[in-house]
């Protein structure tokens, strides 16, 4: 039914809004009175979000640069790397003819640090930390997080975790080099690897601090979502972003403590002579006293976190993409409830699939029967999400902003990487594929690139909300197309390496006849990786340049979105809304309803409106 919708935003919020007796503190605001508590020890969720994001960018650059160094080794093993000596020092060994080579020990340290940094610091803290902080209060109509203090501590524990990890890079014995999964006994015994000495100690300390950060953040997100929704914001009216962050926080809260316990047992084995993970080991010319432990116990504990962790990474990206896609296709997200139930199903199933990482690790083959079933079932809610995204595009009026492009790219990556998961989740095929480059291709595409694309979509889309300016769209599009093509150029060929049986984590391939004949492919991958790396630097330049010089946001709601964050003042004040909180009357996806471009959530149901959703 066609009708004309007219409303005045400020008036509506003021009249219909919810008065929570919030008073603006223009003077003497204890939260934002000085430089230190505004920009450093800030308790404002928007500032903390920026802190998470910028720290995440810092770590992403370091983690990606590490991958470039080890890709140089893999793509150009004969090439002279002496020019890296000023940076890497003794880890580049220069022979008599002046040819510098990367030390194998440091190669493994780089691989390990790349994984740890990207998984935990960038894609957990940088992605979920940034957008949960930014969007949960804003999209729910809350003044701030339930506990701003814990929120601040969450960031600073993350900062300390990063600091400890960063310092470990400079140890004379090198940082931890036993793979990001830290499997014992390699990680437990300094005799086994020089990185398993002080490097491993700092790795554990850093990650325990990180667990604290995740738990403080997570408990806050959950509490805020459950208790601080504004008037009218029922659970079923929450945008999908919030659903994703909410389930992510629950996953984190349930799984990260298990990782912490795994680390505590590891510390006992390393320092107190216990035998949780160690048994009948002969190393360094001597037998150890430890008997009765099991390295597989660690793997169970680790992957009990590790598998939910990949959903902790990908769910926020899914939420961001759903939101961005709906806004820029000018259409409601297709199958909102199916999307929510998929998120819940994925969240639940993610806890009972962990042993699919361990089909070949010596657990009883019988156990695989259960884990294969649950693992392949998780493909069903994932497929539903993909179909819903595609259906969202159908019949839309798509604006190809950089954010939208990255959302579309996300779906492509999620399909490509998700489908290879169906191979790996099947234990029979996993016999051949386990720990090969096929796995590397799979998880980089599905949780590396896809999660990054989700993050980029979020950054481009909510940048104006964070900084009051836009990022440069032309650079954004160069960034997108270059990364889209480049990322596939890097990771698609790796499937073939895996199918040829090439194991991952090899320092070089010429020791085996079977793996030695992919030199050209490895060169190609390395070159593509370098190009993609510089495209990300372009993004970073765009990001920081736009903070100061970007096009200014002149209206509150530049994208024509329905959600509440676009009703707050451009400059972003403490408490988010100057007066009453907006109250909510509808779901977040009334785009194009009754021929009206978009109807924000705070607009009451019109009597002429067709049936509500």
């Amino acid at each position: 039914m066609a009708y004309v919708l007219e409303y005045d935003e400020d008036l509506l919020i003021e009249e219909q809004g919810f008065d929570d007796h919030f008073h603006e503190h223009h003077h003497g605001d204890k939260y934002q009175s000085s430089f230190i508590n505004t920009y450093i020890f800030s308790m404002d969720h928007k500032m903390i979000a920026k802190q998470f994001l910028i720290t995440g960018i810092f770590w992403a650059i370091i983690g990606a640069a590490m991958s470039i160094v080890f890709r140089l080794q893999l793509g150009f093993p004969e090439e002279n790397l002496a020019w890296l000596q000023p940076l890497l020092g003794k880890w580049i060994t220069v022979n008599d003819s002046g040819i510098g080579t990367l030390d194998p020990q440091f190669y493994y340290a780089l691989v390990t640090m790349h994984g740890t940094i990207l998984v935990f610091f960038v894609l957990t803290a940088g992605l979920s930390g940034t957008f949960s902080n930014l969007l949960i209060p804003l999209q729910l109509g809350a003044r701030d997080m339930a506990s701003p203090m814990l929120n601040m501590l969450s960031y600073w524990f993350f900062f300390m975790a990063g600091l400890v990890m960063f310092l470990s890079l400079f140890l004379s014995t090198g940082p931890f080099a036993g793979g990001w999964t830290g499997y014992p006994p390699l990680s437990a015994l300094p005799q086994a690897s020089s990185g398993s000495g002080a490097g491993m100690t700092m790795w554990i300390v850093s990650l325990v601090l990180f667990v604290v950060s995740v738990l403080l953040g997570g408990i806050n997100y959950i509490t805020t979502v459950l208790n601080l929704r504004t008037k009218g914001m029922t659970m079923w009216r929450m945008p999908l972003t919030i659903w994703a962050f909410f389930v992510t926080a629950i996953l984190g809260l349930l799984s990260f403590p298990v990782l912490a316990s795994a680390f505590f047992l590891m510390m006992c084995d390393r320092g107190l002579g216990t035998s949780f993970y160690l048994s009948e080991i002969f190393i360094g010319g001597a037998p150890l006293d430890n008997v009765g432990g099991s390295p597989i116990l660690y793997q169970h504990l680790f992957w009990f976190l590790g598998h939910p962790e990949v959903y902790i990474i990908i769910l926020p990206a899914m939420g961001l993409v759903s939101e961005v896609m709906s806004v820029h296709a000018r259409k409601p997200i297709f199958g909102y409830k199916a999307m929510v139930f998929s998120i819940l199903a994925i969240g639940f199933l993610s806890f009972i699939v962990w042993a699919h990482h361990m089909f070949m690790s010596g657990v009883n083959p019988f156990i695989a029967n259960f884990f294969v079933i649950f693992t392949l079932i998780i493909a069903v809610p994932s497929a539903v999400k993909v179909f819903n995204w595609i259906a969202t595009l159908y019949g839309g009026n798509i604006r190809f902003t950089s954010a939208m492009l990255f959302s579309i790219g996300f779906v492509s990556m999620f399909i490509s990487g998700g489908l290879t998961g169906i191979f790996l989740g099947n234990s029979t095929i996993d016999i051949q594929m386990h720990d090969t480059y096929f796995v590397v291709a799979h998880f980089h595409i599905v949780m590396g690139i896809a999660a990054f694309f989700g993050m980029y979509a979020g950054v481009y889309h909510w940048y104006p909300k964070m900084f009051g300016r836009f990022m440069n769209e032309t650079l954004g599009k160069i960034h997108f197309w270059g990364t889209m093509i480049g990322a596939y150029a890097i990771f698609w060929p790796m499937h073939y390496l895996g199918l040829a049986g090439v194991p991952r984590r090899y320092y070089k391939f010429d020791t085996f006849d079977a793996f030695a004949h992919f030199g050209d492919m490895n060169k190609f991958i390395t070159i593509a990786a370098i190009v993609v790396f510089f495209l990300q630097i372009l993004f970073v330049i765009n990001f920081f340049y736009s903070i100061f010089k970007g096009r200014k946001m002149k209206t509150k709601n530049p994208w024509g979105a329905t959600t509440l964050e676009w009703t707050t003042p451009v400059e972003g004040i403490h408490g988010n809304w100057p007066g009453n909180l907006p109250s909510v009357h509808r779901w977040a996806y009334d785009y194009g309803k009754d021929g009206i471009e978009f109807i924000p959530q705070y607009v009451p149901i019109n009597e002429n409106e067709s049936e509500e959703h």
Binding site: Y107, A177, L186, Q191, A192, F282, I283, P295, I296, K331, P332, F334, G335, K337, G362, P365, F366, A368, N369, V372, I373, L376, A383, V384, F387, I390, L393, Y394, G395, G396, I398, R399, F400, I408, I415, I422, F423, N426, S427, T428, I429, I431, H434, D435, E473, T474, L475, I478, W492, Y496, G501, P503, Y506, F512, A514, F534, I537, L538, I541, G592
Partner: protein, 510 residues
């Protein structure tokens, strides 16, 4: 200098990009924001189609290009029986996922292009469709169930252990930083016990020597040694590790399993093609005589062309597939699959680790007894010497050195092991009633002459007494002590002095 140049280039390129960004923004402002957005929208929509086509061509093209390098395709058929089943499940999964991959990508990019934003057009308002949701939940669920069943049936078959009486070959692979030690079970077909505290330089696996199953086990630590296995026979690999996790990975056989210290694992597989046959497949030619897979005709090593082509040098390799430290990439072993006959011949030439390295050393717990094989071997040596002595014409050639008769140092007490050689002597005495012999004792030159004479007398008498106690007539034997009077070689080195300390048997009449 180069670093500086590269750095400058990067800065330059970055500046160029930033300028491009600023320029377009500026021109957008001049042309009008809406116009600029519309043209950018068109461009990106078209790019969707370009990307879709390019991407699909890339995927199909590269997979055809690399097809013959992939295991399961081209010449790389599985070398084990269970591998074929795995490869077929792989292809089944590829079939379903391939369809989904292509269709969803076409839909994704086609819709993006088709529904590009046009000013004034309204998007459809479709919020949900329960029928569609049910359809696209059910179809993946059914396909997944199908794949799960296929996969698990195969899995439980492949991972099953050997039956209690099933005929198979048992070998053991032990990983350590950074090589594999392979142990084969020898004649008895059983691997002996190990204890990790018994590992030493002379006992690399910590085999427990009191377990007799260990005595015939063959141990190969050197990466250069090729391990042979017969075609068509079930092999059970016991997989263990000494120090950290490793992974027993033989890609051509579709075999992979972690090696864990303190927790042995296993993998059972049956090789179905010999190395020789596999090489022939790689070097196969079509009807015109052109190689089907030309890359296998490349030189194996360009610096040494005499080695021949890659195909001729193909080998089944064992690798490590679980990060185990800085040498993880170098744990290579070669397995050769051969015919049963060749395998039997090869196995017969392999020495048991115990008998080749441990026997007779301090670690040998069997110092006071001989094993049947050794008794047979010593008897053969004695018999050969005896026959030679019988046939000899010169009296001085009718002497047999009885090196296996030994005494405790400085005394005339026979060592326990002497009884085997004494039994050999007793047997020939019983077989040949005409035989009379002289038992001669000799010492080296160390010590007092008279004492040496006395000791040699006592020792030859001890042998004499042992034989009489077993019923040999004392009239057929004389015991003589020569002391140091008849050295075989000059007493000028410890080795020579050892040679001179001896018991001899001289045939007097026959």
């Amino acid at each position: 200098m180069t670093t500086l140049l590269i750095l400058l280039c990067i800065i330059l390129i970055a500046t160029v990009f930033v300028q491009i960004g600023k320029m377009t923004e500026l021109s957008a402002r001049i042309r009008g924001q809406e116009d600029a957005e519309a043209s950018s929208n068109n461009f990106n929509a078209n790019m969707m189609i370009v990307f879709l086509v390019g991407f699909l061509i890339f995927c199909v093209g590269t997979s055809i290009y690399y097809k013959n390098s992939l295991l399961g395709y081209g010449p790389h058929q599985s070398a084990s029986v269970h591998g074929d089943e795995m490869d077929s499940i792989w292809n089944l999964t590829l079939f379903f996922t391939g369809i989904v991959f292509v269709l969803t990508h076409i839909a994704l990019f086609y819709f993006s292009w088709k529904y590009k934003g046009v000013k004034g057009r309204k998007a459809l308002f479709i919020a949900h469709d329960n029928k569609l949701e049910v359809i696209w939940t059910t179809i993946p669920a059914v396909v997944m169930c199908f794949l799960v069943v296929q996969g698990l049936v195969a899995w439980n078959k492949i991972m099953a252990d050997v039956g209690p009486n099933e005929e198979h070959i048992e070998i053991e692979a032990t990983g350590q930083q950074f090589f594999w030690t392979i142990r084969m079970s020898g004649e008895d077909g059983l691997l002996g016990e190990k204890y990790y505290r018994d590992i030493s330089a002379t006992n690399p696996l910590g085999q427990v020597w009191t377990d007799e199953k260990n005595l015939d086990d063959i141990v190969s630590t050197s990466a250069g040694e090729v391990i042979k296995l017969p075609v068509g026979k079930k092999v059970r690999v016991r997989i263990t590790a000494k120090d950290v996790l490793h992974n027993f990975d033989m890609p051509h056989f579709r075999v992979k399993m972690d090696a864990i210290p303190g927790l042995p694992t296993y993998f059972v597989f049956t090789p179905k093609i010999t190395t020789e046959e596999y090489r022939e497949n790689l070097l196969e030619k079509d009807r015109n005589g052109d190689p089907l897979y030309p890359e296998w005709y490349d030189l194996y090593d360009e610096t040494s062309p005499e080695l021949g082509t890659r195909g001729e040098n193909f080998n089944f390799e064992l690798a490590c597939a679980e990060l185990c430290g800085k040498g993880h990439y170098s744990m290579r072993r070669i397995f050769e699959i051969v015919t049963q006959e060749e395998y039997d011949n090869w196995l017969a030439t392999q020495k048991s680790y115990f008998f080749s390295t441990v026997r007779g050393t301090d670690e040998d717990p069997y110092g006071d007894r001989l094993f049947d094989a050794e008794i047979r071997e010593r008897k053969q040596v004695f018999r050969d010497a005896y026959t030679k002595a019988l046939e000899a014409t010169e009296p001085m050639d009718k002497i047999i050195r009885l090196d296996n008769i030994t005494f405790n140092t400085g005394s005339a007490t026979l060592t326990p092991l002497s009884k085997y050689e004494l039994t050999n002597v007793m047997e020939v005495m019983n077989e040949n009633p005409n035989l009379t012999i002289e038992l001669g004792g000799h010492t080296d030159s160390a010590g007092d002459d008279e004492m040496n004479m006395d000791l040699s007398n006592k020792r030859s008498k001890a042998v004499f007494n042992w034989l009489t106690s077993k019923g040999v007539d004392e009239n057929r034997m004389v015991a003589v002590g020569f002391g140091e009077t008849k050295p075989e070689v000059p007493n000028d080195s410890p080795e020579n002095m050892a040679k001179n300390r001896r018991t001899e048997l001289r045939i007097l009449t026959q």
